[in-house]
């Protein structure tokens, strides 16, 4: 029930972000500052979610060790993405390394 409320609220918020300009037309204006700020939203939001999942999986203490598969595979994925810039390749290779490390190397 709680989740349903959260989801429907998200739907309303998303609809406002997507459709308000179409519905209200020229009554909405943006400052250049807002436009510039929006440029940084994807890199900050996604990084702020991913990095704690890599360095402190499970939400506990820092696990800065080679026995942490999230960290090892995450670093590998960063390198793959930096070199190839291919999304799907990064995800599939990253996941393969994650499972290989988790079930193969650490056992």
């Amino acid at each position: 029930m709680t989740y349903t409320v959260a989801i429907l609220g998200m739907a309303v918020v998303t609809f406002i972000a997507k459709a308000s300009v179409f519905i209200l037309g020229d009554r909405i204006r943006f400052s250049p500052l807002v436009r510039d700020a929006l440029d940084f939203v994807p890199v900050t939001v996604l990084t702020a979610i991913a990095v704690p999942l890599m360095l402190a999986p499970g939400g506990g203490d820092l696990q800065f060790t080679w026995r942490n598969p999230q960290l090892v595979a995450g670093i590998a994925a960063i390198l793959i993405a930096a070199v190839t810039r291919k999304q799907l390749l990064t995800i599939t290779l990253g996941l393969a390394i994650f499972f290989a490390w988790r079930f193969g190397v650490i056992g």
Binding site: G9, F40, V41, A81, R85
Partner: protein
């Protein structure tokens, strides 16, 4: 002229086909992740049906798992989706003459992919009396595609319950890395990402995932300051 409308509608669908393929793996990953979390299966599909915005759906799964409150979930959703405001402002000259129901519908169907397809279409067609049917074709194709792949991911995971203990949330980490790293093309963006990561790590103990909002609140201004400083050096006197 129903046949002309159908022609535009089909054209929109056809030109969106590459985007459908690109979105498919994300839909499957999202469905799989949704099924491994605390959500009921139908709630996973409800996210795709009602929110229909990939990035915020992924983020919501992480926030749900972290016990985030409504305010944080909705505020994060708003921030992540604000880019659509810019897309809509860009498309507005072609949308403004349409009736209200059309504007509501096309607003709901706005995505990164459909924006890209429509930008290319409007560039090719300066005058488009039936362009909204083309937009509808692109939007409906993306929407149905997203529902189908979400459903497949949910069904796949539901039939292999052992997947729950595999640590599949790393799929989300890998997905985010694949999106972010190619965008780190200049110092302001790199600095914004590094500061946000450090803040999120230091503040990860805050309740309701408030550490995430705090990380955005410090990361974005750092990027902005560096961007403006760089511009001031490049264009003195502005």
């Amino acid at each position: 002229m129903p046949s002309a409308r159908l022609h535009e509608f089909a054209g929109g669908m056809r030109d969106t086909a590459p985007m459908l393929v690109g979105a498919a793996p994300f839909g499957v990953i999202f469905g799989t992740l949704a099924a491994t979390g605390d959500l009921a299966l139908w709630q996973g599909q409800l996210l795709s049906l009602s929110v229909y915005a990939g990035a915020s759906q992924f983020i919501a799964l992480g926030l749900f798992a972290g016990g985030a409150g409504f305010a944080v979930i909705w505020a994060t959703t708003l921030i992540v989706n604000l880019r659509h405001v810019l897309y809509a402002a860009n498309l507005l000259p072609r949308i403004a003459p349409l009736s209200a129901p059309w504007r509501w519908l096309l607003g709901f169907l706005l995505t990164d992919e459909t924006f890209a397809v429509m930008t290319a279409y409007y560039a090719r067609h300066p005058v488009t009396p039936l362009g909204h049917w083309y937009y509808l074709g692109s939007g409906v194709a993306m929407y149905l595609n997203w529902q189908a792949w979400t459903f497949l991911g949910l069904a796949f995971c539901a039939s292999f319950p052992a997947l729950h203990s595999w640590g599949l949330d790393f799929a989300m980490v890998a997905t985010f890395i694949a999106i972010v790293v190619p965008q780190l093309v200049n110092l302001p963006r790199v600095a914004a990402a590094v500061i946000a990561a450090a803040a999120a790590l230091l503040l990860r103990g805050l309740p309701y995932q408030l550490g995430l909002l705090s990380a955005i609140a410090v990361g974005v201004p750092v990027g902005l300051i560096l961007l403006r400083r760089r511009r001031a050096i490049a264009e003195p006197g502005r």
